[in-house]
């Protein structure tokens, strides 16, 4: 199997991109102390495609997530959804956050039905739809439990179901499995792959986990350490439907090794930077 990697910033031709990130630039602060978090990042995501953005800590992944999600509205460049430039949170984007984000005062079904409640959907319909997505994320039977009674992985699935329930065109996830152990991460990865395939859900995953990115994605955008630029975009040509079994294949190992070669350089820069900052801090 050939490892198809591309240095271009666009999706393969043939289908119009659903999400376009065009020369996005974001700087925090002004003057000599200003930090460039995202430096003219461009890529796009086609309908039904699963794209991951991977990079070392400090490469501006979360800044990019917040910009695409409309939570950060002062930036240069464009984020376009179906050719419309977004300003603020967009109804087509559903966000899943890294931190635990279920509402502890609502049980599972009320958490999942929350977006529908905001939309004014009547109770019976919103419960029906919530049940469907609870089932989809494998939490049938847990509807009446409070989040405190669930494990971290289950709570994250509640968050995912809550996001999927209003059927966003684009699912945007920021390291949703970061707090989970490796086995749960792989199993949840299976679940996400299955859901993404079942719903043909356009998905953009922000992650620093290499195996997770390769396991789930059609394409991987590799970012440089600060300032965050697109280093390259790698097409993942692994068969679909895909499951966590794919991690034992040779092709998977090749992709991981190839992307790690790029990432190692960036991660080393990040680590050196962090160590030098600590040394500076301890002297100060």
């Amino acid at each position: 199997m050939t490892l198809a990697s591309t240095a271009t910033t666009g999706a393969p031709s043939g289908q119009r991109p659903q999400l376009v990130i065009d020369k996005v630039f974001k700087q925090f602060g002004v003057g000599p102390g200003a930090v460039t978090a995202v430096d003219h990042v461009s890529f796009d995501v086609k309908p039904g495609e699963f794209v991951s953005v991977i990079g070392p800590s400090g490469c501006g992944k979360s800044t990019l997530f917040n910009i695409i999600g409309g939570l950060l509205d002062e930036y240069e460049g464009d984020v376009l959804i179906e050719r419309e430039r977004i300003a603020g949170p967009h109804k087509a984007v559903g966000m899943v956050f890294q931190e635990e984000s279920t509402f502890p005062w609502r049980n599972v079904i009320d958490n999942v039905a929350f977006p529908l409640e905001l939309q004014g959907v009547n109770k019976s319909e919103r419960l029906d739809r919530a049940h469907h997505f609870i089932d989809l994320v494998g939490l049938k039977g847990f509807e009446r439990l409070m989040p405190s009674a669930l494990s971290g992985g289950m709570r994250q699935r509640v968050s995912i179901a809550r996001t999927l329930v209003f059927q966003p065109q684009i699912l945007l996830m920021d390291e949703p499995f970061a707090a989970l152990d490796e086995q749960t991460r792989l199993l949840l990865g299976d679940k996400i792959t299955q859901i993404q395939q079942d719903l043909n859900q356009t998905t953009l995953l922000i992650t620093h986990n290499l195996t997770e990115a390769v396991q789930l994605s059609d394409r991987i955008v590799v970012m440089t350490y600060r300032p965050g630029k697109v280093k390259r975009i790698v097409d993942i040509d692994l068969p679909r439907p895909r499951s966590s079994d794919v991690v034992s294949s040779d092709a998977f190992g090749h992709y991981v090794a190839e992307i790690w070669a790029d990432l190692r350089e960036e991660a080393s820069r990040g680590m050196a930077d962090s160590e030098s900052a600590r040394r500076g801090g301890s002297r100060g």
């Binding site: 939570l71 956050f97 005062w105 405190s148």
Partner: protein, 256 residues
């Protein structure tokens, strides 16, 4: 030692509380009877117990409890109605918070009860004076705790709301207030403690109305068992208020 299953039963805390009360009652009785504590300062608990029937029959205790409970109820509701929005306002508007939060905290420590002559001039010797003074006394903790609770809401929950394009009012009602509820309730408990003390204290000071006035009257008659018995009724009213608050809290805050 109680077995783990019994100590976790619902009856255990009630029995423990009752036996602690009875133990303290008996210990005080013994100390007084053997002269370790002066009988002319602290009445015998058994005398206090026997005085209850007398003050119920002779001192219109039901009517007095009703008056005090009503003043407490109005004051307790008023501190919530005023305090939570004030706390939310301080949360929402940072300059106001920076300007006022220290003053609000200072208000909690101020001996407002000493300003009762001023309130008597404004509102007269009436239940209004008791209620207004009690509300002002109880306001600071709930305002501070509401602000603190709202400021402590995890940013990810706010981001969930923003990602769902919630309006400010929806955000406050459906995310901020429910998330801050545990802290707000600790403020309510503190405020209500201040309010309940204040209501009885001001009734005592201005010699008006309910149980506070009764305590004043009985103390002036040097009826020590009756005085302590009346204090027992104040405790009873307070217990009822806090039991109600606990019910409301457990209804609003299912197990998290």
């Amino acid at each position: 030692m109680a077995s783990p299953s019994f100590s976790q039963s619902r009856a255990f805390p009630i029995l423990l509380g009752a036996s602690t009360f009875i133990g303290a009652f008996v210990a005080l009785e013994v100390l007084l009877r053997y002269g370790v504590v002066n009988k002319y300062v602290v009445p015998l608990p058994s005398q206090v117990l026997m005085s209850l029937e007398r003050i119920v029959v002779e001192e219109n205790i039901v009517g007095r409890m009703r008056d005090t409970a009503w003043e407490m109820f109005v004051s307790c509701i008023a501190v919530i109605v005023l305090g939570v929005p004030m706390g939310a306002l301080l949360y929402r508007w940072q300059p106001l918070r920076r300007a006022l939060l220290d003053w609000v905290a200072a208000l909690a420590a101020a001996p407002l009860v000493l300003a009762f002559p001023l309130f008597l001039v404004i509102f007269g010797r009436s239940a209004t004076t008791v209620i207004v003074m009690s509300v002002i006394t109880g306001l600071a903790p709930i305002v501070i705790k509401t602000t603190e609770g709202l400021l402590g809401v995890r940013s990810v929950l706010i981001n969930v709301g923003r990602s769902l394009k919630m309006t400010d009012a929806q955000m406050l009602r459906m995310i901020l207030l429910p998330a801050a509820l545990p802290v707000i309730f600790s403020g309510i408990r503190l405020s209500w403690t201040f309010v309940l003390i204040s209501v009885v204290g001001i009734e005592f000071l201005i010699n008006l109305g309910g149980l506070g006035q009764l305590i004043n009257d009985l103390a002036e008659r040097y009826d020590l068992p009756g005085t302590y018995g009346a204090i027992g009724f104040v405790i009873l009213v307070s217990v009822i208020f806090f039991m109600l608050l606990e019910r409301v809290e457990s209804w609003l805050r299912p197990a998290r």
